[in-house]
Symmetry: C2
Subunit: 237 residues, 2 copies
DNA sequence: AAGGTAGCCGTACGTCGTAAGGTTGGTCAA
DNA sequence: TTGACCAACCTTACGACGTACGGCTACCTT
């Protein structure tokens, strides 16, 4: 009973670190970071879990690789990988506009990978791609006339904002069921926390009943501009 | 062979949500958040793992409780739980100094619980203690003359900084082994990432060989002041 | 004394990361 | 042609995790 020669064509696409990482990112995008498990990942690649260890040292380095992949995506998005056009036109806009644009581009990439902030944030090591990104950013700030010291502090002040995301402390309450007695509850809330309710009700000047939630993008840009303007002012001193 | 009555004195301190949470915090402080496991926690309390479920619905709510506990600690640290002295003296300092002090106090608590930023940051829900904290903070900003809208944006701009921590993107490289050929590696680094190296070497004006690492506290205060100053300026407009 | 009940325990299941060793198919020297 | 070699891949198994489920015990109420 010899094995039939063509029982299974066996395309057998060879596994690759690239392929593993790309698939991991795809799983995370589609089903969340918790679905990125060695077994799931292997199944998606039509392979056994342990085979992954020939291309990735372990789960931790897999996450490192995913973070690296996202930052790399940012780098290409802001044109950091393309060789500059020989004579890069000096930024017609001020450094602020350039940096702002770059960071908002990074944010766009992050928004496509909701799991990325958590992963990038939890990795301690500075990957090469992140280095590349920060080196370019640093260059923009330096050539903008900021002193090295100010650039240093500025990067710290930006923090994760430099990579296009912030840790959202109050998650979108995302009111699925528009609670019928929301008004009543609101009053109870207002009694306990008058100040936040005052601020929140002022924030939603259009819809006044349900607390119209925040515009994340606008808030991000506000905070970013606050920092950039502050740096500019300090540089001018 | 009747059970001897006093084989074990059995003090049998009753389990309590308080006791469970406090112990969890103690474990996290001593051995890191990964050591906070239902079994470990139970062992520390001299109890079986499943007994914890009578006081905590599950691991997730345990973490919620731990976050809540830390924020509560912050609240008492800034005197938010003490009933105010009837006639609270109007803040002699400006609102900025008050807010600044409050946030730095929060930071001190956070520094005592290195695991707390991660846990607080990963919880989406706004716990009552956090609400209390933010309500007070909001009140300070409002009574400082900031418009509700500005307060709203300002809180977003502060983000986790309002609770005394930032997501540290580049972890302390903490050079245990002062690599003998650090100079050589530094040169290699300088070739690939000239800008960051320039900034970093400028940052450590005292020690010039090893990149003298950053003063986290100073950086935190710099970023905080940058935001507060920016808000003040916007309020004055 | 009878019955309820809150608090605790024992066992077990499914999932996770991964250590250790076996199998296979292709490459290349003799 | 053949046989050694060696990646790439698979199989099995272990320990740790969160937690469902069903007991047991000690105390309270009536």
């Amino acid at each position: 009973m010899a094995a039939q020669p063509d029982a299974e064509p066996r395309p057998r696409v060879p596994l690759t670190k690239q392929r593993v990482l790309r698939t991991a990112v795809r799983i995370a995008d589609a089903r969340g970071i918790t679905a990125v498990t060695m077994r799931n990942l292997a199944q998606e690649l039509e392979v056994e879990a342990m085979s992954l260890y020939h291309h990735v040292p372990g789960k931790d380095q897999l996450l490192d690789g995913m973070a690296e992949a996202v930052v790399t995506e940012i780098n290409t998005a802001v044109g950091l990988d393309a060789t500059p056009p020989a004579d890069p036109p000096p930024p017609a806009d001020g450094w602020k506009a350039v940096v702002r644009g770059r960071i908002l581009a990074a944010r766009e990439v992050m928004l496509n990978h909701p799991w990325a902030p958590g992963v990038v944030g939890s990795r301690s090591t500075m990957t090469p791609a992140a280095m590349r990104y920060f080196d370019a950013l640093t260059g923009q700030l330096l050539s903008g006339g900021l002193s090295p010291d100010l650039v240093h502090h500025g990067l710290h002040a930006l923090g994760s904002r430099a990579l296009g995301f912030t840790l959202e402390l109050f998650q979108a309450a995302d009111g699925g069921a528009p609670d019928p007695d929301a008004a009543e509850m609101m009053q109870q809330l207002a009694q306990q926390f008058p100040n936040v309710v005052a601020v929140l009700s002022a924030a939603s000047h259009d819809g006044e009943t349900t607390l119209g939630w925040c515009d994340d993008q606008a808030e991000f840009e506000f905070g970013l501009d606050l920092v950039l303007d502050g740096l500019e002012r300090l540089a001018a001193r």
